[in-house]
């Protein structure tokens, strides 16, 4: 494998389906998961605020003055709200909360079998301990006016320690993931993109012809980079890449023809490398023979 692709490989894990195909799942990175979690917190907080406001107005309408006994019920309600939110969504068909869905990740069982509801419950109850418990202790102490610096620091350090735990293990697991036997993987919804080699029917692109030597200049790693550049459709990037390739294979490219040239070269190079592939020669990159 090319050196350029090695960092990405660190988060890829094999997942062999019963049909014997390795699906190579990609673990979600810590930043993505933090973003998903923050989104979820925003959703829950919004729901909690709405419920509280509605309940307050409802009670006022009923003429109930004494709110204190209902405080217990409110605390229980909020506790259930956030736990039901996480558990119900993750136990659902997509195994992801709305936040996770937005960033395109989901929960999966580490052993490759179906994710069970027990696992979902275990990983979410641990979250209660990892994040919500220390914060609610601080909040409760603060509310009754007995929050001292020490408890606050202790609570924050606790929450921080648990939040950073995924950074210190290979599989990016929270304590909850560890106990439940789950991990969080990337599950993006991709759409089928057009086949770039079909673009070669373009008349300008058709005019370019390449020799065997010119096509041997690059390998699969460079081909994939070229594909990225073509799909991104950025004029300056294409111009720069076209110049570099032109220099390497000894062709002079007019800037205006960059895209057509790259399309033509991509098509020819891919066909050339695919033909080699069929014959059993996988030319990984330009250094490969």
């Amino acid at each position: 494998m090319a050196t350029a692709r090695r960092p990405a490989l660190a988060t890829i894990r094999p997942l062999i389906t019963p049909e014997g195909v390795d699906l190579r799942i990609k673990l979600a990175d810590a930043g993505t998961r933090a973003a998903a979690f923050l989104l979820d917190v925003v959703f829950i907080a919004t729901a909690a605020v709405v419920i509280t406001i509605v309940a307050l107005f409802g009670l006022r309408g009923l003429g109930t003055g004494e709110l204190q006994p209902l405080f217990v019920v409110w605390i229980i309600l909020i506790f259930f709200l956030r736990n039901v939110y996480f558990i119900a969504f993750e136990a659902g068909r997509r195994a992801a909360t709305p936040g996770k869905r937005i960033v395109g990740i989901r929960v999966a069982s580490r052993n490759g079998a179906g994710l069970s509801v027990d696992q979902v419950i275990a990983r979410n109850l641990m979250r209660e301990i990892e994040v919500f418990l220390p914060l609610s202790i601080i909040a409760a102490r603060g509310g009754t006016g007995v929050a001292d610096t020490l408890t606050t620091i202790f609570g924050l350090v606790w929450a921080l320690l648990f939040s950073l735990f995924p950074l210190f293990n290979r599989d990016r697991m929270r304590i909850g993931d560890l106990l439940a036997g789950t991990w969080v993987v990337e599950a993006p919804k991709r759409t089928l993109m057009e086949d770039l080699s079909a673009r070669q029917q373009d008349p300008v692109a058709k005019a370019f012809q390449f020799s065997q030597v010119q096509l041997d200049a690059y390998g699969i790693a460079e081909l994939h980079k070229l594909e990225e550049v073509l799909r991104r459709d950025d004029y300056f990037a294409q111009k720069a890449v076209a110049e570099t390739i032109g220099r390497k294979i000894g062709m002079k490219i007019e800037p205006i023809d960059s895209k057509a040239f790259l399309t033509a070269y991509y098509g020819e190079l891919r066909a050339h490398l695919e033909r080699k592939l069929l014959l059993g020669n996988r030319k990984a990159d330009k250094h490969d023979r």
Binding site: V21, A91, L178, A180, M193
Partner: protein, 343 residues
């Protein structure tokens, strides 16, 4: 120069043609699978017709085989990525299939919860014993020197109660129905007990040592409070005040401690499994028990918030508390639902 160029183009074209036709022929299947998955992920599978439902695994396998072909022959990275994501979605849908949430909830109450609690019986006994030791120690400490009371019970929780409070004041705390202080205190106590229960569970993985300390200390607090009342001849009355919700709540805390100890001891002594696997294994039993504990604490909270302020007769308080305890014990240890099929 001319000859190799045309030769190249011809040979390249042949490969290109065959790959293009591969994509052309399979594309309809991929699109069909994608559309089906999008539907079943949003709505229940029963919105699919029988035909569509049966075609799902077939389409999934065809996508998998396309993926294998594409990986081996095609260098179109976007195509391979698309097929990988499509296959993964299909895989998760087909092999991630499990019982619905409703069925799971029924199973939990009929079978899993009592089974998990039964499984933890040894740890439960230990944690109850620790709590009783704590009560004994707390009572003895406060009896020997009343300064211990302030050391054991945080002033926020004591709310004026203490060895120096008058008997009337203490009695008033137990029987005054609707006073602002008590309901606020009940809310505080509820969150306090939930926190104790969760902490007892969560700290278990530090080889159960913090859990043991927590159970002892929680017992100490109870013992200290009890001693204060006992000294004023109000022991029975405090018992009633506590019993109405306390049987449920203390039992729940003991079970939470037991669940924590299970995890801690399994990490310390994993047996033949690796520590990680042992923790995961114990984690599942303990988590089931913990869900049950949170249900129990919910009951306790309701009993506390409603029952304690409205029921003021000692006999009724003991009856409710005892009844709840009998109910839990009967449910956990005597009641066995027969799972359909196996025992």
């Amino acid at each position: 120069m001319n000859a190799p160029v045309t030769g190249n183009a011809v040979r390249g074209n042949a490969v290109r043609q065959s790959l293009a036709s591969f994509r052309r022929e399979r594309e309809a299947d991929w699109k069909a699978l994608e559309a089906l998955l999008a539907r079943v992920e949003k709505r229940a599978p029963r919105t699919l017709s029988e035909e569509e439902l049966l075609s799902l695994p077939v389409l999934y396998r065809s996508a998998l085989s396309s993926l294998s072909v594409a990986r081996a022959t095609s260098l179109d990275a976007a195509l391979v990525a698309y097929l990988e994501s499509l296959s993964l979605r299909g895989y998760f849908y087909l092999y991630g299939a499990r019982r619905g949430l409703g069925q799971r909830i029924a199973d939990f109450f009929l079978h899993d919860w009592p089974a998990a609690i039964r499984d933890l019986w040894r740890e439960t006994l230990v944690s109850l014993a620790l709590m009783f030791v704590g009560i004994g120690v707390g009572a003895w400490l406060v009896a020997s020197d009343k300064d211990w009371f302030d050391a054991i019970i945080p002033s926020g929780l004591a709310g004026g109660r203490g060895p120096d409070a008058s008997a009337e004041f203490l009695r008033g705390m137990l029987y005054d129905g609707d006073n602002g202080f008590l309901s606020g205190f009940a809310a505080y106590l509820f969150t306090h007990n939930v926190q104790v229960a969760i902490l007892a569970f969560a700290l278990g993985f530090a080889f159960a040592v913090p859990t043991v300390l927590l159970m002892l200390f929680n017992g100490c607090m109870l013992g200290a409070m009890f001693q204060v009342y006992w000294a004023k001849g109000l022991g029975m009355e405090l018992g009633g005040w506590l019993a109405i919700h306390g049987t449920t709540e203390l039992f729940a805390i003991a079970l939470a401690g037991a669940a924590g100890m299970r995890i801690g001891t399994r990490i310390a002594f994993p047996g033949e499994l690796t520590r990680m696997a042992a923790a995961a294994h114990a984690g599942r039993v303990a988590a089931t028990a913990m869900v049950g504990v949170s249900v129990m604490l919910l009951f306790a909270g309701l009993l506390e918030g409603i029952g304690r302020q409205t029921i003021t007769s000692d006999a009724t308080r003991y009856a409710v508390g005892g009844g709840m305890l009998a109910l839990w014990i009967g449910y956990f240890y005597l009641f066995r639902a027969v799972k359909n099929g196996d025992s």
